[in-house]
Subunit: 342 residues, 2 copies
Amino acid sequence: MRIALDAMGGDFAPAEPVKGALLGAQANPDVEILLVGRRDAIQENLGQAAKTPANIRICEAADVIGMDEHPAIALKKKPDSSIARMFGLVVAGEADAAVSAGNTGAMVAGAAFFLKFIEGVKRPGIAINMPAGRGHCTVIDCGANVECKPIHLLQYAVMASEYNRLIVGNDNPRVGLLSVGSEEAKGNKLVKDTLPLMKELGLQFIGNVEGGDAYNGRCDVMVCDGFVGNVLLKVTEGVAESMMARLKSGVEKDTWTRLGMKLVKPAIDDMVAHLDYAEYGGAPLLGVQGVTIICHGRSDANAIKNALKAAIKSVQQNVTQKMAAALTASRQVWDRASGDLQ
Amino acid sequence: MRIALDAMGGDFAPAEPVKGALLGAQANPDVEILLVGRRDAIQENLGQAAKTPANIRICEAADVIGMDEHPAIALKKKPDSSIARMFGLVVAGEADAAVSAGNTGAMVAGAAFFLKFIEGVKRPGIAINMPAGRGHCTVIDCGANVECKPIHLLQYAVMASEYNRLIVGNDNPRVGLLSVGSEEAKGNKLVKDTLPLMKELGLQFIGNVEGGDAYNGRCDVMVCDGFVGNVLLKVTEGVAESMMARLKSGVEKDTWTRLGMKLVKPAIDDMVAHLDYAEYGGAPLLGVQGVTIICHGRSDANAIKNALKAAIKSVQQNVTQKMAAALTASRQVWDRASGDLQ
């Protein structure tokens, strides 16, 4: 198995992706990791390690797509960028997966442009595994598709349920449709139009759920429009940061609380790490033919290592093929929503 | 000034609303508080206080709308409910504001049914003051209108900017439009259609903002669709609860962290209280002719007292009239979006 890793993507590239590759190569000796990017920059960072493992290979890509570049324009202008090269390797059958902490939009656009969609899929969606109680809730879509129709949500539900089953490990994932209340009558037009067909997909559909249910273990999969999913994600980060900032300023007030903070620090660190979805192997883009994992821009070596692990597991489990089979099995249902597409 | 308070609304009614009324009456001796609900239940709870202040009066309402009842149906079936009676008092000029921790949908439907809309307003919106850095960010709409058109968002921006100026106290509030990125090209159709007109409203509009910007002090007013705003609110609660649950289970692990937790508890309590928007005077429904404040169902006496304070300040500051004037001044702009309405 070969996994292509974007050495140039992310806020701390190439140092952290290269370190992550070294960790991943060590943990998975049977997997070859293709570090895609500028050979000299990668070599320089690899050189700091005692010796480069035999299962790391550099694949030259002279160009880099910046974090703030326009995805489609950058991909067109930079055919030799690390992201374009990664997908080229996947298309050529030289890599089984593509992993990057770079420009999210360019990863989505690149996957859509270079890889074919799974048979029948209208739009790929970004899935993120949020910490929920003792497990994880797979939230889809987190921003690939900000203008959803019912058919998109139905396909997301089928794919994310399969992903959650195979990768997160829930036998029969409970799927919820994100709304403003659990009652059937609650929701906007998109939710109301989607709900009846969602019931027929053959999933363990538990009906409408609310924003907080992504964190309390009520559902294993949460399906939503990409605009709403992106807000959910950014609010999660914002609330966690706001709480920590407030706690830190409160603790500074006197000696006893400062001492207490030192004692309680392991639990606080655990609380913060628990909510950091970057710890859980990045965000897979579901719906394309080829495993594609998008990492948070601020990913460190450990987050990259976890993303490589998720990519390897996805390839081993044939996630793409099994999602395709699940979509075929439920086609009669989601196809009935096609009429909504203009 | 007279404020009508729903004695029967909320998870802890009538005990907490009655206690809240006593606190509010004491803090505001010039204001009369009208406790609306079942006389015997109110009297029983008032009786526990040493003596009822002269500025508390009971207004009998024999019926109660339950937390889970269908708003419109319940309002129709129960003309003698505490919520219907409160709005009756406002319409008759016997109360200047209505405050309730009861059924949110019934409060929105009741206000829309009994009170007139401010001239030109198409749909009222729920505003919530989220803790943001050292101040507060007024997020609108948090769930009154889950199917927004550009004109709704434009009117929300004008009203919430005025509310934030008069009640939160920012001279010239920075208004942001919630999207999936700060760049102008980012967003769904609603955001893209709204943005150009938002620039012309004469507000201090800072462009698109992201979900996390409700908490970091980047903007003073955040405008969004009621579906998205409701998700934002529920996610905020969910993340905070999830973090606290994780912290508590982490702290149980050993004696030293348990001791540390005791020392750091004031700072933790402060962190939790900081994020509890119920502390900040409930959620005003903006766009109706008459001050209407909706409190969280789990409001305690202190939250009710704060909501009464916000209601009093809103009446004193003539918020409704000033919002109406601001809407008139910007009518040329938001009226151009009327064509979108079906």
